[in-house]
């Protein structure tokens, strides 16, 4: 149910000024490992102040792409630019970006303070400034009092905050985060996500986060790049990705979806009519599909109303029988079998604490949804 808390997501952070020049530019970057194309011709602009998420299934090349920006992988072809400057030949230790590693990679022989100071010492900063910046950063990440501990004397959450402090204290142009929260439990993960957003705003930095957790990407990111098989398949804001997926694959990867196959019968500027679907003839949002095209209509479960009464003719409607109900607390998922056996999923918020006449398994129900609820996908 990722679409819920998106309304307040600041689309504007993408770049207040659309003419702003990108901070990071991947220019047709490709990287192959013995037989595997990990990154396949990725071109992508990331703007100053963005919280950009690279999202995709395991092995799709997210980490590899991030590592070309950090300098740990050299692209086989293409270029990586920072502020218009070609980074391709710049070794990692001279790039003004910092990375928070998935394993944290804290130096086991150094204390918390020693770990955080490491990067500042490399810059040859004066002792007092190092001390001041460490104190500031440890306060910001609520690590005071732990300065003298070694990493093995910290909890997982503390270690993760030290890793974050160590990367942030250098005030990088871009902070790279490779699955920074994967090792935390769900509650701590949620808290840390908001902490990350707070830090980004507070420090005015640009963050690029790699994750395979779509909920995490939706929560923290101002823009998401969805990757599959080394390619970027869609780059958009979280709500666009959710509401306007550009392919069956993205629709299916992000959240739950009903994908209903059919053929475009007719189209106007506002409605595309798709016929011969398992749910009959469906009116969906306008698209650039042409009459006769084979398409799929993507329909999010929470956009579907479930009820016993026959819905008004202005809505799409189909009748079926409830095959299964999944109770999720805030939501219930209803699996409804249509006449020809096709199963559609509908989600309904459990608003009332006690439902007067609950829909139960075996009931005949009507599913209905607005004409603009379905998205027509041509690929």
């Amino acid at each position: 149910m990722n679409g819920q808390h998106q309304s307040d997501n600041p689309v504007t952070t993408r770049s207040g000024d659309p003419a702003a020049s990108p901070l990071v530019r991947f220019d047709a970057v490709s990287k192959r490992f013995a037989g595997v194309t990990a990154v396949d011709g990725v071109s992508l602009d990331i703007y100053p102040g963005e919280f950009f998420a690279l999202l995709g299934p395991s092995g799709c090349g997210k980490t590899t792409l991030l590592r070309t920006l950090a300098g740990f992988e050299t692209p086989d072809s293409g270029r990586v630019l920072l502020n218009g400057e070609d980074l391709t030949r710049v070794p990692p230790h001279r790039r003004p970006v910092n990375m928070m590693f998935q394993s944290y990679a804290l130096f086991p022989h150094l204390t918390v303070a020693g770990n955080v100071a490491f990067g500042l010492k490399q810059d040859g900063l004066p002792q007092e400034e190092i001390a001041a910046r460490i104190a500031e950063m440890l306060a910001l990440l609520r690590l005071e009092g732990l300065e003298a501990r070694k990493p093995h004397q910290l909890s997982g959450g503390q270690r993760q905050r030290v890793a974050l402090a160590r990367a942030l204290v250098k005030h990088p142009r871009v902070l790279l985060l490779d699955e920074p929260l994967a090792a935390l439990d769900k509650k701590l993960r949620g808290e840390t996500q908001f902490e990350l957003m707070r830090l980004k705003e507070r420090l005015g930095l640009t963050f690029v986060i790699v994750t395979h957790d779509q909920e995490e990407a939706m929560t923290v990111a101002s823009r998401i790049g969805v990757m599959n098989h080394g390619r970027l398949v869609q780059v958009a804001t979280p709500s666009e990705i959710y509401e306007q997926p550009n392919s069956r694959w993205v629709a299916d990867f992000i959240g739950d979806v009903n994908l209903i196959d059919g053929r475009v019968a007719e189209k106007t500027t506002v409605v595309t009519t798709v016929a011969t679907t398992p749910a009959g003839t469906i009116r969906a949002a306008a698209s650039d599909a042409k009459p006769g095209d084979s398409v799929a209509v993507a329909l999010r479960p929470e956009k579907i109303r479930i009820g016993r009464e026959v819905p008004p003719a202005s809505l799409n409607a189909v009748e079926g029988e409830v095959a299964a109900i999944g109770y999720l607390g805030d939501f219930s998922i209803y699996k409804v079998r249509l006449a020809d056996g096709f199963v559609m999923e509908a989600a309904a918020a459990n608003v009332a604490r006690v439902i007067e006449r609950p829909v139960s398994i075996g009931d005949r129900v009507w599913l209905s949804w607005a004409t603009d609820a379905g998205v027509v996908l041509t690929q």
Partner: protein
């Protein structure tokens, strides 16, 4: 029933803890006490060649007499005789220098091994321990022929033209160092390799990410992390090198002896068991310090691992 099985188990546990102590008592403490006792005796032309002898038949009076005849004269001799002091000094100096050489050579070798591709590491490991398949003595004899005047080393040096006349190797300190470094290298490389092999590669990436060039990361990250291994290797080498006998005897010259040679001379040539025993006891006392150091490092490493 349960009480019995409980006491049984705790007896078993006690036995397990006891075994190493029994072992140490039987094969270290008891022999040491015997050696210590002999070191307090005097040389005599007898069988065994020292006095006093402990006679049980004479009872308490005999025991009293036995103790009154013990003396620390041998230790006084060790301190006053230049032969012993210089032997100790030479042994410690050679052990110190060769441990430093082993460290300088072993650290890069271990580092290279740990950084080599995974599939090569097994082979490299095997190459390091391969010399153990051949008897130590045979390998030292081999060095004798290599270091001879017309041996392989000089042939090679002459062939590349580094030298015009064959330098003398055998019976010099250089030969001793070559022999020691060659023999003890695995004992230095393996502990360091063991610590480096476990090192997380991403630590070096993290160092680079934080602005640290590779050569500097070696000093700031790799070396500190290899330190426990380096200390273990140094102690594993230093202690036996101090007491080394075979290598200086076969490869070294006839000048000042290492303490192992002095001990051998006292024991077999002079048949002065008490003096030889005193030499051994002092040697042990000298080595206890690095041994305790080693213990300390080991304990700290276990603590960190846990």
């Amino acid at each position: 029933m349960s009480a019995r099985s409980h006491s049984k188990r705790s007896w078993g546990q006690r036995l397990v803890i006891l075994i190493p102590y029994l072992w140490l008592a039987a094969f270290f403490l008891v022999p040491f006490l015997i050696v210590f006792k002999i070191s307090l005796s005097q040389f005599a032309t007898a069988q065994p060649p020292y006095l006093p002898q402990f006679d049980l038949d004479e009872g308490l009076a005999g025991l009293k007499e036995f103790f009154s005849e013990l003396s620390s004269a041998n230790y006084a001799r060790l301190v006053s005789d230049w032969l012993y002091l210089s032997s100790y000094g030479r042994s410690l100096a050679i052990a110190f220098v060769s441990t430093a050489m082993l460290l300088a050579l072993g650290l890069p070798i271990a580092y290279a091994m740990a950084r080599a591709p995974r599939r090569w590491q097994g082979v490299l490991f095997l190459l390091i321990v391969l010399p153990f398949w051949t008897s130590f003595l045979i390998r030292v004899y081999a060095w004798m022929t290599i270091l001879q005047r017309d041996g392989l080393l000089n042939q090679a040096l002459l062939a590349i033209g580094i030298v015009d006349a064959p330098p003398v190797w055998i019976s010099t300190d250089a030969a001793i160092f070559i022999g020691i470094v060659y023999t003890y290298l695995p004992f230095m490389v393996l502990p360091i390799y063991a610590t480096l092999e476990r090192m997380d590669e991403t630590l070096l990436e993290a160092a680079a990410d934080l602005g640290c060039p590779r050569w500097k990361a070696f000093w700031l990250v790799t070396v500190p992390l290899a330190l426990p291994g380096a200390i273990a290797g140094s102690i594993l080498c230093f202690i036996p090198i101090v007491g080394e006998f075979v290598i200086p005897d076969l490869l070294g010259g006839s000048g000042t002896m290492m303490i192992g040679q002095t001990l051998w001379l006292e024991f077999f040539n002079n048949r002065d068991w008490p003096a030889a025993s005193a030499v051994a006891v002092v040697l042990l006392a000298l080595l206890i310090v690095p041994l305790i150091l080693f213990q300390h490092v080991q304990a700290r490493r276990l603590e960190q691992g846990g």
